[in-house]
C-alpha cells in the first residue's frame, strides 16, 4: 500500500461519519465505501464486492437514534484495503476475517465519540450562564463535536493500515496453509452473512401482514434466476459448439424485479383509504390546500423510489 492510499482511506474514514450524520449522501454506506476504497486501491470490482456483501449483512441494522450499531463502513474500508494489497486474502475471507470483527470493535469507538461530545454540551451550558453570552463560542462548541466523530473513525483506520499489514499477511498465509479448513469456513461465512441482514430486516418489517409479498418476491426471483442462469449456461454451450450462434444472454436484472415490487407497492398505496373526513371537518381552505400539496410531496417520494 502506498502512503497516499493510506492517507486517502484515512481521510475518507474521517469524513464518511460526518456524511452519515448530516447529509447522508449514501457514499457513507458500506457499498459506497466499497466504491471509494476500491477506486483508491485501484481494484473497483473487489471493493464493490466487499461493500455489497457488507451492505446486505447490515441491511436491517439501521437506526439513526441513540443506539450505536455495527460499523460496516469502516469494516469495508479495511477489508478492501487488505484484500487488494495482501496476497492470498480473497474478498470472501476478508469479509468474515477482517470486515466483520472490525465492524464489531468499532461499536466501542462510536460510544466513545458520543461520550466525548457531552463535554462540549456542558461547555455550551456554561457559556449561556455568562452575563454576556459569546454567541460565536456557542456555535463553535457545537461544531467542535465533529472532531471526536471524525477521529473515532480516522485514527483506527490509520493505525490498522499503517501498522497492520504484517499481521494480516501472517493471517492470510496461515489461512492458505495449515488452517486451510478455517479459510474454507470463513469463505462460506462471507457468502452466508447477508442472510443475517435479511433476517434482521424481516424483524423490522411487518412480515406477518405482508407475508404474501415476501413469498411472491422470493418465488418469482427464484424461478427467474434459475431460468436466467440456465439460459446463460445454455448460450455459452451453444456458442462454443456453433460459431454462428452469437446471441448473448445476460444475468437476471435486479432492477426489473424491483419494478415488479414497485408496481405492487403502488397498487397497495392506491387501496389504502386516506381519512379525509377529519381533515375536512375542521377545514379551512388553506388546510385542504395543505392536504393536496402534501399529497404532491408524497407522490414525489414514490418517484424517488422509481429511480
Amino acid at each position: 500500500m502506498a502512503w497516499w492510499q493510506i492517507l486517502l482511506l484515512t481521510l475518507y474514514a474521517g469524513l464518511e461519519i460526518l456524511d452519515e450524520l448530516q447529509i447522508y449522501s449514501s457514499l457513507n454506506t458500506p457499498v459506497g465505501a466499497g466504491l471509494i476504497a476500491g477506486l483508491i486501491m485501484g481494484d473497483l470490482p473487489t471493493g464493490l464486492f466487499i461493500g455489497a456483501s457488507m451492505q446486505l449483512t447490515v441491511l436491517g441494522i439501521g437506526t439513526f437514534g441513540g443506539a450505536s450499531r455495527i460499523d460496516a463502513t469502516t469494516g469495508t474500508v479495511l477489508a478492501t484495503a487488505f484484500s487488494t494489497s495482501i496476497k492470498g486474502m480473497s474478498p470472501q475471507t476478508a469479509i468474515s476475517s477482517i470486515a466483520v470483527p472490525v465492524a464489531a470493535i468499532m461499536i466501542e469507538l462510536d460510544v466513545l465519540a458520543r461520550f466525548a461530545n457531552t463535554y462540549f454540551s456542558h461547555r455550551i451550558d456554561h457559556l449561556i450562564d455568562q452575563d454576556k453570552i459569546n454567541y460565536k463560542a456557542v456555535e463553535r462548541n457545537v461544531l467542535y463535536g465533529a472532531i471526536p466523530w471524525s477521529l473515532s473513525r480516522a485514527v483506527p483506520v490509520f493505525i490498522a493500515l499503517a501498522f497492520g499489514q504484517g499481521l494480516v499477511q501472517q493471517i492470510a498465509n496461515a489461512l492458505n496453509g495449515d488452517l486451510l479448513w478455517l479459510g474454507n469456513g470463513l469463505t462460506v461465512a462471507g457468502a452466508t452473512l447477508p442472510a443475517v441482514g435479511f433476517a434482521v430486516l424481516l424483524r423490522y418489517l411487518p412480515v406477518k401482514r405482508h407475508a404474501a409479498y415476501l413469498i411472491l418476491g422470493f418465488t418469482i426471483t427464484t424461478l427467474f434466476s434459475v431460468l436466467f442462469s440456465g439460459m446463460q449456461a445454455l448460450g455459452t454451450g451453444l456458442s462454443a459448439v456453433n460459431k454462428g450462434f452469437t446471441t448473448i444472454f445476460n444475468g437476471l436484472p435486479m432492477l426489473a424485479i424491483a419494478m415488479l415490487g414497485l408496481a405492487l407497492a403502488i397498487l397497495h398505496y392506491k387501496n389504502i383509504p386516506i381519512n379525509k373526513g377529519t381533515a375536512q371537518a375542521q377545514s379551512t381552505e388553506s388546510q385542504s390546500n395543505s392536504a393536496s400539496s402534501s399529497s404532491d410531496d408524497d407522490e414525489g417520494e414514490i418517484t424517488d423510489d422509481e429511480l
Binding site: 473497483l44 455489497a52 451492505q55 451550558d125 462460506v188 414514490i302
Partner: protein, 272 residues
C-alpha cells in the same frame, strides 16, 4: 405584556441559513446526555438572536430551553423547527411552553416515522439494488442511490418553510399520508427481501452421503423441491434466532460466522 412581543419577521435568507445549518451541523454535537440539544440550538441561534435581540433575558431563557433534551429523525427535524419558529415569532417568550410542547410532543413520532422510512426502507430498497449490481462489479446502483439521496435533501430543504406556513395542523394531516406511504413502501421492502434471499445468499450443500452404492446429491434433490431452499432456511433460522431473549444483531452475526466456519470447514455446505 403585549408590547414584549417580538417584531421580527423571518426572511427567505433566514430559512436558507437554517436549512444550511441543519444539513451541515445538526448532529455534530450529538451526545449521550441530551442528544441533539446543541444541534437544535445551533440551527436556529441566529434567528433567536434576531427575534429576541442580543443579551436580553428572553434570549438567555430561550437558549436554555432549547438546550434541553431533544432527539428526532434528522430527516424531519426542520418540520419541528418550522412549527417552533412560527410560534416564537408571533408570541415570543410567552410561547415558551407551547414550543416545549411542540418539541417534546412531536420528536418521538417523527423519530419513529423517520427511522422507519430513512433508516430502514430507503437503505433496503436502494441498498439492495446497489449491492446486487455491485456484486457484479457494476457501480451504477451506488450512483442511483446517491441521486436518490440528493432528491431527499431537496425534500428536507423544502419542509422547513412548508411547516412554518402550515402550522401544527400540518402534522395531523401529514400523518395519515405518511403512514399510508410507509405501509406501501414496506410492501416493496418485503418483496425485495424475498428477491434478495433468492439471489444474494450464495451457498449450497456440498455434502454427498453414500447410501449403499448410491451417492446422494443432496443439493439436486432439494432443487427439485424448490431452488434456493437452503438460503431461505438460513434466513428463517436467523429470524427465529433473533426472536430469542437477549439476542442482538451483532451476536447473531457472530453465531452465523461460527456455524459457517464449522459447517464450511467440515465440507457440509460450500460457496456457489
Amino acid at each position: 405584556m403585549t408590547n414584549s412581543k417580538p417584531k421580527y419577521k423571518l426572511t427567505e435568507q433566514d430559512f436558507n441559513q437554517i436549512n444550511r445549518r441543519s444539513l451541515f451541523g445538526f448532529q455534530l454535537g450529538w451526545n449521550y446526555e441530551r442528544m441533539q440539544n446543541s444541534g437544535y440550538l445551533y440551527t436556529i441561534l441566529p434567528q433567536l438572536r434576531k427575534i429576541y435581540g442580543d443579551d436580553t433575558p428572553e434570549l438567555k431563557e430561550m437558549m436554555k430551553t432549547h438546550m434541553q433534551f431533544f432527539n428526532t429523525s434528522n430527516f424531519f427535524n426542520t418540520i419541528i423547527t418550522g412549527l417552533d419558529l412560527a410560534v416564537e415569532e408571533n408570541e415570543g417568550i410567552e410561547g415558551k411552553d407551547t414550543v416545549t410542547g411542540i418539541k417534546v410532543g412531536l420528536m418521538g413520532s417523527f423519530a419513529a416515522i423517520g427511522d422507519s422510512i430513512f433508516a430502514s426502507l430507503i437503505p433496503t430498497i436502494f441498498g439492495a439494488l446497489a449491492a446486487s449490481m455491485a456484486t457484479q462489479g457494476n457501480p451504477v446502483g451506488v450512483i442511483i442511490w446517491v441521486i436518490a439521496c440528493l432528491l431527499i435533501c431537496v425534500f428536507r430543504w423544502k419542509q422547513l418553510h412548508f411547516a412554518y406556513d402550515k402550522g401544527v395542523s400540518l402534522v395531523t394531516d401529514m400523518r395519515d399520508r405518511l403512514n399510508a406511504l410507509t405501509d406501501s413502501a414496506t410492501v416493496l421492502g418485503v418483496f425485495m427481501v424475498g428477491a434478495l434471499v433468492a439471489t444474494m445468499v450464495n451457498i449450497k450443500f456440498a455434502w454427498a452421503p453414500q447410501i449403499g452404492k448410491v451417492t446422494m446429491n443432496v443439493q439436486n434433490n432439494l432443487d427439485m423441491i424448490l431452488p434456493k431452499l437452503l438460503p431461505a432456511a438460513v434466513v428463517g433460522f436467523v429470524y427465529w434466532l433473533l426472536g430469542k431473549k437477549g439476542m442482538t444483531s451483532t451476536k447473531a452475526i457472530f453465531i452465523v460466522l461460527i456455524l459457517c466456519i464449522v459447517l464450511g470447514g467440515l465440507g457440509v455446505i460450500a460457496k456457489i
